[in-house]
């Protein structure tokens, strides 16, 4: 598992790199697409033209890897929602905590930097 960068900013270059990935996540707005993805995740990734790297991080639920390959958190969160994972769970993944630890850190006033 790689370490997350401090910040992920969806600039135009990342938008290009992550284009297929975010387009696929965006398709999950529609219930029938969610069902189709669930039925055969790999085929669905291929249909949306993901690179093999992008496909791998999706299938493995490597949430940091997705960001590194251009995913926007607002888009990859749609995959998390299908998996019934919360934003706190993802926060834990990004910061090396459990969802509970992460939620507690917020409850305690949030994480401080700088």
């Amino acid at each position: 598992m790689t370490t997350a960068k401090d910040n992920y900013v969806l600039d135009l270059e990342n938008n290009r790199r992550g284009y297929a990935l975010n387009r696929m996540f965006g398709s999950f707005r529609h219930a029938e697409n969610r069902d189709e993805f669930a039925a055969d995740e790999a085929a669905y990734c291929d249909h949306y033209g993901l690179t093999s790297e992008q496909k791998k991080v999706v299938l493995q639920r490597d949430w940091i890897g997705m960001l590194d390959l251009g995913a926007s958190i607002f888009y990859s969160f749609k995959l998390a929602t299908m998996d019934r994972k919360s934003m706190q769970y993802l926060g834990g993944v990004f910061t090396g905590m459990t969802a509970e630890q992460f939620a507690e850190a917020l409850q305690a006033g949030g994480r401080k930097f700088g």
């Binding site: 370490t3 997350a4 960068k5 401090d6 910040n7 992920y8 900013v9 969806l10 600039d11 135009l12 938008n15 284009y19 975010n22 387009r23 996540f25 965006g26 999950f28 707005r29 969610r34 960001l67 926007s72 958190i73 607002f74 888009y75 969160f77 749609k78 929602t81 299908m82 934003m87 706190q88 993802l90 926060g91 990004f94 910061t95 992460f102 850190a105 917020l106 409850q107 006033g109 949030g110 994480r111 401080k112 930097f113 700088g114």
Partner: protein, 285 residues
């Protein structure tokens, strides 16, 4: 002529809407936040606008990444509530104010703002949660019509804070030149500090938020001078949503009065706040 009667700044966290929809506002986790809203809600209930101009951003629900406009205005007669993956929120459909929308688009275009028009739009939590903050129990219909004003905050480069403040000033002029005697409220939504992704996920910067919450009233030009990078570093990659408060602030006159504010950590991953300002108008009355 139309007048701006108040401006509301408020976070638009989806879980705030979900807490209302699932009747959890009395739970220990949520009670302090909603208690903080109470005085503002009471005042607003006594000062009802005809139209709410709601400045917000879409979150991957109605705007894709193929075509990303910087500023947009909804021009429709009605807006459906978006299905964000867990079904539509159980709130009323949003009624538009297409004549006012068309007036605002025209005036802002002539005032050198390059506005995209959303002639069809499903509105997500960015717009519906602030409406619920204003009006928790709408029943069958929201108590006012709505003009959605969309700002890109997701894709870099976002508009600068200075440009957002300028847009607000143009919006205020445009509203006040609308030739119908209606009362308008302006909502600036999003924030406060939060970051969803990356090693800094969970960031909350209370000092920055407290400064912002004060300066939005007294020193908006100071906030408008901050760069994109300042907002991201200090308020988090999603805290940059605060630039939308500046659109609201710009639309108010110089003569405002703070009715109420509240600040609470956390609402999910976010520092949530509300600040309500009455607009006393450009002339004394």
């Amino acid at each position: 002529m139309a007048e701006v009667i108040w401006g509301l700044a408020t976070s638009h966290v989806p879980s705030i809407g979900a807490a209302m929809d699932n009747h959890k506002t009395g739970d220990p986790y949520w009670k302090p936040l909603f208690d903080g809203y109470a005085p503002a809600r009471e005042w607003m209930a006594g000062h009802k606008p005809d139209v709410a101009v709601v400045v917000y951003n879409d979150h991957a629900n109605a705007v894709g990444l193929d075509l990303v406009p910087t500023f947009g205005i909804g021009t429709a007669e009605a807006y459906d509530v978006a299905d964000e993956g867990w079904g539509q929120r159980p709130v009323p459909r949003v009624t538009g104010a297409p004549e006012l929308s068309a007036h605002l688009v025209r005036e802002l275009m002539d005032d050198s703002f390059d506005i995209a028009t959303f002639n069809q739009l499903d509105v997500d939590h960015g717009l519906t949660v602030p409406l619920s903050v204003y009006c928790p129990d709408p029943g069958d219909a929201w108590p006012c019509a709505v003009v959605p004003v969309l700002v890109n905050v997701i894709q870099y480069p976002q508009p600068t804070a200075a440009r957002c403040f300028a847009l607000g000033q143009g919006l205020g002029r445009a509203i006040r030149s609308f030739p119908q005697d209606i009362k308008v409220a302006v909502f600036g939504t999003g924030g406060m500090s939060h970051q969803l992704a990356g090693a800094r996920a969970g960031l909350i910067n209370t000092e920055f938020d407290r400064m912002f919450l004060q300066a939005i009233e007294t020193e908006p030009a100071k906030l408008a001078a901050l760069t994109r990078e300042d907002y991201i570093r200090q308020a988090g990659t999603e805290g940059i949503e605060l630039i939308m408060w500046l659109v609201m602030r710009g639309a108010l006159s110089e003569n405002i009065r703070r009715i109420h504010d509240t600040y609470h950590v956390p609402a999910s991953n976010t520092a949530a706040a509300l600040a309500l300002f009455e607009d006393l108008g450009t002339v004394s009355r």
